[in-house]
Amino acid sequence: MEGLEILGKALGMGLAIGLGAIGTGIAQGGIGAAAAGAIAEKPELMGRMLFILVIPELLVILGFAMALIIFSVL
């Protein structure tokens, strides 16, 4: 494999995970702040808030899946 090709794959994989993680981070930041406030008022919401908090993880997970696809297919 040529050096340039490896570089491209590596960059692509890194971007897929990295940008996904940034997106997830931004979304979870907002949700986390709101959830912390809500839980302070009503501790029984803890469970439900935990679920809402993991919703944006889809982004980084799809990024990771994409990186793996680049790794194994391209």
Binding site: G47, R48, L50, F51, V54, I55, E57, L58, I61, L62, F64, A65, L68, I69, F71, S72, V73
Partner: protein, 658 residues
Amino acid sequence: MILPMTKVQVIGDKRHLYPTITLLHDLGVVHLEDAHGDAISASPSDADRDLTTRMTLDSVGEEKKRISDEQLLRLNAVLSGLPRPEDDAHSSERDRLYADISKSDFSAAVETSSGVLDEIETKARTLANERSNLTKELASAEKYEAILEQFHPLLAESAPIQGYETIALLIDRRHEELVALLESEVAEVTGNRSYVTSADIGEDSTAAIIMFASDAAEAVRRLLWEEKVNEVRLPESIAETPFEQALSELHVRKQKIPYQLEEVEKQLDELGSEWWPRVRAVRDVLLDHSEELKRIGQFGETDYTFVVRGWIPDRELDELQKLLAKHFNGEVMTETLEVKELDIDNVPVALENGSFFKPYEFLLSSFNLPRYGAIDPTIMLGVFFLLFFGLIVGDAGYGIIILGASLYLRRRFKEIEIAQMASGIFMWAGVSTIIFGIIYGEFFGDLLLRLHLIPHFELFGLGLPLERTELIMPILIVTAAIGAIHLLFGLVMGVVMGLRFKAYKHLAERAGMLLALIAGALLILTTVLGWPPFLMTIGWVVLALGLAALAYSGGPVMLIMHVIDLIRNVASYTRLMALGLAGAFLANVANELAGMTSIAILGGLIALSLHTLNLVIAVFSPALHSLRLNFLEFFSTFYESGGREYKPFQRSEKVEST
């Protein structure tokens, strides 16, 4: 499954009111509702049939309530001061006594209670007071000792003189100039028959001692009060003694109190060990009586009858009728009421799926109970949760640890419900993890594969172990397929629900998504596997039907949303692959790093810490994501929530754990 409920009305001769309440309480299966005319909002369909008024307590009831409240107040006071013995023997003793006392009637219970109170109330109160006084005294002795010790250097200069009094002051360092001011003013009011000495103490206060002629005491105190200077006052017991003596007395008290406290606590422990089960049992019985009296406000009455209304699981109805017939000879009757359309949302929901699925019922009720008449997804939740968890973690080594830890928790915290629930879930999640670990050939990552300890073999035409780190694309496809099947399953149930509740928009939406999903799968499979082209045509037709149904349910904008939703939901299941691979890679990295170091201990430590980290992530994250796939993606296809919790009117048999 959701227990089928019957709406039941119990009507009887008022003379049998209290025995009937006790009988219902003993039976413990009726979820009581308001049964009088004021309760229209709770049960809309009964509005037309109510000739009854809200029942109020008669004089006998009022008297019972007064007595039980009074006794409960005293029993609770005794109980709060009485240490609870920690061993099981005392708990079972309480259970035995509770069963004994609750067999007898109210007046016998009150008699027992009075007897118990006569025996120990004074003693318990005295001991508890003594304990609290000693604790307070100890605290104050420590505080004053510290203050007096600060005055110690000054006291040497101001030995007591006949006809003179001393006052000690503690002044904030910021107001230090006050000392000089006081000195001159005190000299003025006493006619120069005074002496003031001061010294700095610690970081921020100044101590001062004023000696003055006793006959000017009143004037000096008034002056201090006017100047708002606080005198250091000693505890009353030593207020009259001179400082030097007071200090030594405080020393002595501080030495002695802990022994006295120990003695009092020993006596309290003995008292608790002897009496706690009996006090607790009689308290609980009276609490039951008080609860029964409180419920009377929910009943309805006419001049000669009482009316009780509530929900009862179908299978318990016979038992209730038999018991009433046996005890009251037909003078208390039951009647089953028709459940009208309006009432459906009021039917309490009780889940029953056997002990294996009990923890999942708990999870479900913390999320949202299903609506009465809807599908109870507990069993599906349990099965898919275990499947997904194993699929993600898939490591025999981690599985063994999870299983072992759960078994330990289960034995260690028998009394704590939440520990039992969690271990009930994770025990089997551990087993599922071990099974998938065997399929993947993973034991703490690729440890065994690295050491060539796993034979490659074939099972049902499948080459095992399936090394998932080498099979990224196939596993990605399999997980998306699992998602499609899971959602398909949910959508079929969603269609059934739509039919059952006659919610046609919902029905169209779910049927549309179902058809679109089938069509999508068909089109992809036909293209990839080269199936005959007529299947392709069928696929397009089904897709068109599905989209039409979606457009009918919510218009063109929602049509696009639904299609995106569907694709996103299927894609969401690829997390089963992604999370699993991330864990597997981390485990492999741990082994790799350990192998790279030449020092065996260092390598072992690196591997141990990375595997521990991975294991912690492996318990938390996959559990959350497996639940999420169920609660969000799967439930959105069919789940009807909003049930009311079934809370039967029952006795508090067991002692709650501390």
